[in-house]
Each structure stands twice: as structure tokens, then as C-alpha cells.
């Protein structure tokens, strides 16, 4: 299964490098939304709480633009049945999860660089805390996005359904990462956020575990 998982992720990566559909959509959304926030704020100075909130709002909506493509693209091109024929459900799930993790990490890196350039108040005072937050946040975000994308791919209203479904599932994750990112910007100690990391770790385990159980039913329906 591990070989199949990496083969599927590798196939998706090569496909993305060739078409650049999702990466372009994600990056353009990040640039557009950061520019819009910049225009709205002008000279106003904002708190770290607001900045970290806006940072994850950008990540959330940018993810909406690109991450759901992982299954929608397969269904639209008629290649989902081909994958179903040659790979186990678990290999498909973990392969897609792995690729979505890569995409999400790229997304948060792009958002971080843009924020550092655009907002002078966005200063990472606790680098380790920030890195751990965005890493765990990315994994949690990718885990939720993958299973939601699998559900959405089977539905008629693919465009709007992803946002509607993802918000309640991602709300606990967003609340936690916004809070922890604000702590990192304020320069809090790493140990002060251990409780939040436990929540993030638990969230990732719960979402991946439930997704693994549910995916077979969704994929073969």
C-alpha cells in the first residue's frame, strides 16, 4: 500500500507540475486576498490577534479554491474509475492526503512570505512556535480538505458545497491555529502552547482516522 500511496502522490505532483491548475489558483487567491486586505487597512495598525485571524482566513479561502480539485479533477476527467480499478481505497486516500499536505504547506509558505512583506506588524517573534503551528495547521487543514473534497466530488453543486461543508469541520482547527499564531507573533514561549498542540494533534488523528474509515464508502459509492 505504501508503494501505491507514493505512486498516486507522485502522479498527482507530476500532473500538477504539468497543468499548474491548483497551484496557480491557490497562489493567485493568496496574492489577491492579501492585496485586498492591504488596500482595506491602508495605514491602520492592527493587533496580532487580527493579523493571525486574517492570515488563516486567507489560507482557508485559498484552500477552497484549489484543494477540492484533487478529487473533482479525477471525476471530471473520468479517471476516477481508472484509479478505482487499479488501486485500493486506502492507497488513494493516503496518496491524495499526501499531495494535499504538500499543496497546503506550499500555500501557507506563500501566505507567510506575503504577510511578512505586506504587513510590518506581522513579525514572527517565536519562530519555533510559529513553524510548529503552521505545520500542524497545514496537516489538519489538508486532512479535512481531502475527505471533504472526496464527498464534494460526488455531488452536483461542487463549487459551493466545499465551503459550506468545510467551515464547520475546520472551525475547531481554525480557532486553535489563530490563537496559537497570535501567541507566536506575540513572542510566547513554545511550552505555553502545548495545550493547543495537543488539540491540533488530536484533531489530525481524529480527522485522518474517521476519513480512513469513511473513505471506502465515499470512494466506491
Amino acid at each position: 500500500m505504501i508503494v501505491q500511496t507514493f505512486a498516486i502522490a507522485s502522479k498527482d505532483l507530476r500532473s500538477e507540475l504539468r497543468t499548474r491548475y491548483a497551484v496557480n489558483a491557490l497562489l493567485m487567491f493568496v496574492v489577491t486576498s492579501v492585496a485586498t486586505i492591504l488596500f482595506a487597512l491602508r495605514e491602520d495598525r492592527v493587533s496580532t490577534d487580527v493579523l493571525s485571524g486574517m492570515y488563516w482566513v486567507v489560507v482557508f479561502f485559498s484552500g477552497t479554491a484549489g484543494l477540492s480539485r484533487i478529487f473533482v479533477g479525477e471525476e471530471e476527467r473520468g479517471t476516477a474509475l481508472t484509479l478505482r480499478l487499479i488501486a485500493s481505497s486506502s492507497a488513494v486516500y493516503f496518496g491524495k492526503l499526501l499531495f494535499n499536505c504538500l499543496q497546503t504547506i506550499l500555500l501557507v509558505l506563500a501566505a507567510t512570505v506575503l504577510y511578512l512583506i505586506a504587513f510590518p506588524e506581522f513579525v514572527i517573534r517565536s519562530a519555533a512556535l510559529f513553524a510548529a503551528t503552521v505545520f500542524l495547521g497545514s496537516l489538519g487543514f489538508a486532512a479535512a480538505a481531502t475527505i471533504i473534497a472526496a464527498i464534494v466530488a460526488k455531488a452536483q453543486a461542487k463549487g459551493t458545497l466545499y465551503t459550506v461543508l468545510s467551515f464547520p469541520i475546520l472551525a475547531p482547527l481554525l480557532l486553535t491555529v489563530i490563537q496559537t499564531t497570535a501567541m507566536a507573533l506575540d513572542g510566547a514561549e513554545f511550552s505555553a502552547a502545548l495545550g493547543q498542540f495537543q488539540i491540533l494533534f488530536g484533531y489530525i488523528c481524529a480527522v485522518v482516522g474517521l476519513s480512513f474509515i469513511l473513505f471506502d464508502y465515499i470512494w466506491k459509492d
Binding site: 507522485s10 479517471t79 481508472t82 492507497a91 466506491k220
Partner: protein
Amino acid sequence: MVSLTRRVIPPDFVCEKSVNDKSMAIMTGTIILSAQSLGKKFNRRTILDNISFYLSAPSSLALTGKNGSGKSTLCKMIAGILEPSAGSVSIRWEGQIGSAAQCIGLVAPYLNLYDEFTAAENIRFLSRIRSRMPNEKRFRILMEQVDLWKRRDDEVGTFSSGMKQKLKYVFALVHEPPVLVLDEPTSNLDDDGVRFVGNVVEDQKRNGLLVVATNDADESSWCSEQIHLGEHEL
């Protein structure tokens, strides 16, 4: 070797071919495809109901019936890409339960390859996902037989529908599957392509199991067994 007789089986049939050879077939390491009480409903509409059959290699089965009678649905369930609402399909290969990914080659209009990859990349990537790297020699022979070897480094998106159909045959045959399922086997193919399919069919009938879903009388005559699928009431 079991002598086969051609017969047309009505809806709600049971096709028990070579039942007496079942234990012998498993012992000698052949391939067996069986379906027990298969049924499929989409919402409240019954597409297939109580379909059972048993085939051991070498053998061939034609699935015929009107449009909407469930031929493609049955092909998908045999290939393991659609879950039945009732019953089950099983493949036994070398006396063990075989996975559809390893045992089945499927050519069908609804099974697409990746347009953004070249023909060679498609076969390589999909074989890697299948965990069976292609035999390069066999890949080249198949590509030459369908006259696509010179186009192996071209993106599939630039292929005509007939060329894509030929590439689907390469994809289905490159891992030498013991069970070959063909849904509308000659659609979009030119005369050379139809001849190639004829050769594939003859080879598969000799060495494995062949299932063909078609409305064409010539194509259904390739097979020794036939299942005529009927319509079901809503």
C-alpha cells in the same frame, strides 16, 4: 478442458458452467470468476437483479441486452469499480482470492487515461500504482501492434478517440491479466484496430477469461456463453 456450449440465458438466470470442475480448477491453479445473486439499484431503480454465474478459464462470456439493461453496470461490478447493492463477485486465481487490480484488464468508454501525460507515462504511472511495473518488451510489442509506438511520447490529450481506445487496450493488457473485460470493444476503432481486438479476443479465449458487453451480434458471437440482460420494472 471443458467443452462449452453456446446458450442464451434469460434475465434472472443462473449460469453454472463446469460446476463439476470447480474443485479441480482451484487445485490446478486456474482462474475462476463467479457472481452470486448480484443486484444493483440506483436510488429506487433496479438495474440488475439476482444475477449469478460461474466461469473457469478458458472461457468467454458475452453480455447482451438493450441500452440501459445493465451491461456496463455488470462490467463495472465484475471489475470491482462499482459496489453491488446485493450479492458479490469473486475471482479466484491460483486457488486464492485475487484482487481486481491484479487480475482484471478493463477496456470501456467510461475508463479514461490522463490527457496531460504521454502514452508511455500513462502506462508507467498507472502500472506503478497497480504495483506491477510493465514489461518493457511487452509494452513495446503492444504499442507496435496498435500502431502507437511512434506516438508514445505524445500527450494523450492530442490523441484521437480511436487512438485513445487503442491505448486503453495497451493499458488493459500490459500486465497480462487472466480476466479481460471489454465493454463496447470496437467503438471508435478503424479496421486495423478491429483486427487487433479480434486477435486479443482469440488469445484471451485460449488462455484466460473473456467478458464482452456489446449490442453487436458479431462481437457477441466471439463468446461461447451469453447472458441476455432484460429490463426490470421500476
